[in-house]
């Protein structure tokens, strides 16, 4: 952060610890707390301090007033979690987790259960929309340096949410027991056999048998039902970490005074709702008119252990990692590189040590970043292409760029890049942008 001479009202934090102190010193003063204005609110709060807690978050805590719509994706992901749990719960009232009955029970939902087709498609399309929100949310963090101190733990908890959501989605896709359900489960669980010495035993333990079969399906159902509630808990930790450090913002300059901030309510409640509606419009477009566009036709064929589909493809949100897995000729190497691609993210706060937090003021960084995003999308496309010919070499080069971005580019950039001057404060930056 740049430090200049400034008036005594504004502290310029020069370390993460100082940043936290300054943040905690800014808070809105309410004339009167709702616990005093309303008798009921006071009564409840005396016994369970949730009223004061909520009031703190919504009205007292400072939020940067310059947050852009890129900051909407967190709450959008949150609402996706709620939608998935709600739709999943109602599906579970009719679904049967037995290999002989699963496929038909899903069709029973589609054809006979009142609005069953709607709830099923909400859940299936909703899963894709959840990952759209997650990826957009993560892109925001990567661009604006939201993983940098003091937000390391916030970032790590986020990656855990990402991993748990991927595990949940993977198991969920197995439940309809279509061809892709079965063969996707077979391919991915077989990966664990790459672990030396204990690999085979682990795989049989996962399967509950000698191949993917009824015990596997049953336990995947239980775990798929359970994990979202675990995710809710981790999301609460994520929000707790956020309330401790405060939100980042497009300038990367922390809030230093009351002039930089506004309360969550009513400003971000209404702005989040605008985001929700735009999100629902995109959701609705797929849900009502192209509900199977993001899926695979082979999953409408009942699972058959004797017939392998021509191309086994995971759902689109796994494709980049699938491409990395297949890029490595060695089985164990592929598994390590695939998981490594996500484990790498944990080290981001230590790989990118640029003193300028936000990518908005780092022109060289921006170029590498855009290539990173395009490369990631390209990796996704490679993931669903056949694994031969020039696709193999392209996958290897793409994987190398993915790793090089984190391990080489980001650590080296601070040494060479020319950054743009960072604003003095959020307030100054906001005023310069909103001259009327």
């Amino acid at each position: 952060m740049s430090s200049h001479e400034n008036n005594e009202n504004i502290k310029n934090p020069s370390s993460p610890k100082e940043e936290l102190e300054v943040f905690h010193s800014i808070h809105n003063d309410l004339d009167q707390s709702i616990t005093e204005k309303s008798k009921i609110a006071g009564w409840i709060n005396d016994r369970l301090p949730i009223v004061a807690s909520l009031e703190n978050t919504l009205k007292k805590h400072p939020y940067p007033k310059n947050l852009s719509y890129w900051w909407n994706f967190g709450s959008i992901a949150g609402i996706c979690l709620v939608i998935q749990i709600l739709s999943g719960l109602f599906l579970a009232m009719h679904y049967v987790p037995n290999t002989k009955l699963a496929f038909d029970s899903v069709e029973h939902i589609m054809r006979d259960v009142n609005y069953g087709w709607l709830i099923r498609y909400i859940h299936a399309v909703g899963a894709s929309m959840f990952f759209v929100a997650l990826y957009a949310h993560m892109i925001r963090s990567l661009y604006y340096g939201s993983y940098k101190p003091p937000r390391e733990i916030l970032w790590w908890v986020g990656i855990i949410i990402f991993l748990l959501t991927m595990a949940t989605a993977f198991m969920g896709y197995v439940l309809p027991w279509g061809q892709m359900s079965f063969w996707g489960a077979t391919v991915i669980t077989n990966l664990f056999s790459a672990i030396p010495l204990v690999g085979e035993s682990i795989v049989q333990w996962l399967w509950g048998g000698f191949s993917v079969d009824n015990p596997t399906l049953n336990r995947f159902f239980v775990l798929h039902f359970l994990m979202p509630f675990l995710i809710v808990g981790i999301v609460l930790l994520h929000l707790l970490a956020l309330s401790t450090t405060g939100s980042n913002n497009p300038t990367g300059v922390p809030m230093k005074s009351k002039k930089d901030s506004i309360s969550f309510h009513p400003y971000f409640t209404i702005k989040d709702m605008v985001g929700f509606v735009v999100f629902f419009i995109i959701f609705g477009y797929f849900l009502f008119f192209y509900p199977n566009a993001l899926g695979h036709p082979d999953n409408y064929i009942p699972a058959n252990p004797l017939v392998t589909p021509a191309h086994i493809v995971p759902e689109w949100y796994f494709l980049p990692f699938y491409a990395i897995l297949r890029a490595v000729p060695d089985k164990l190497g592929g598994v390590l590189m695939m998981f490594g691609a996500i484990i790498l993210l944990f080290f981001l706060p230590y790989l990118d040590k640029s003193k300028v937090r936000s990518g908005a003021y780092r022109p060289a960084f921006q170029k590498f970043f855009y290539i990173f995003v395009i490369n990631f999308v390209f990796l996704g496309w490679l993931g669903k292409s056949p694994a031969d010919g020039w696709y193999v070499w392209a996958s290897r080069l793409s994987t190398m760029y993915y790793y090089a971005y984190f391990l080489l580019v980001l650590p080296m950039l601070p040494k060479f890049e020319k950054t743009l001057p960072v604003p003095e404060s959020i307030d100054e930056h906001y005023k310069s942008k909103h001259k009327h």
Partner: protein, 178 residues
């Protein structure tokens, strides 16, 4: 927080409130409409509704015989009564009955032969056994309730007569229950 200058005149402020309330109200309507399909999904599904009524061929039930069928997951007794059983049922005084009901109210006019009852004891839900008991109707082995030839409770803890399900004669050989 930032200087939130609330220097609107009342007209602007009320306009702002109107837009805000209109937006929140519309969103609320949307939310309620979104919940309705979920609630409806818990109602009986179409395959269950298709079994809401069942047609039964009664042509091979002899006089004095009883056939048991399933309807909506419950047993239904279809009894073709003898003339003696019909007479006994019609003779009973209403004052003798715990749950007073005329036999003629429990069968279709012109078809007094056919007594169709839900085979679940009105006490605690066991299935009574036909052709047993003092009243020659049904006897419930669980707690000793006794029903007569019209399926009415005569003795024992059951409070009400055996339920008569909705049914109709489609033709001489077939009835539709439900």
């Amino acid at each position: 927080m930032s200087e939130i200058k609330n220097n609107d005149n009342p007209k602007d402020e009320s306009r702002r409130n109107l837009i805000k309330n209109a937006a929140y109200a519309t969103a609320g309507v949307g939310a309620v409409c979104a919940i309705l399909p979920f609630v409806d999904s818990m109602n009986p599904s179409k395959d269950v509704q298709a079994m809401a009524s069942v047609e039964v061929d009664i042509s091979n039930i002899k006089v004095g015989e009883e056939k048991k069928v399933m309807w909506r997951g419950k047993p239904v007794f279809i009894k073709r009564r003898t003339s003696q059983e019909i007479e006994e049922a019609q003779k009973v005084e209403l004052s003798e009955l715990k749950d007073p009901q005329l036999d003629s109210d429990r069968v279709k006019a012109g078809k007094e032969e056919w007594l169709i009852t839900v085979g679940i004891c009105t006490h605690l839900g066991c299935v009574p056994i036909g052709g047993q008991g003092e009243y020659k109707g049904w006897f419930c082995p669980c707690h000793g309730s006794q029903y007569d030839t019209s399926g009415r409770i005569r003795k024992g803890p059951a409070p009400k007569n055996l339920e008569i399900p909705p049914y109709e004669f489609i033709n001489e050989k077939t009835i539709k229950i439900g």
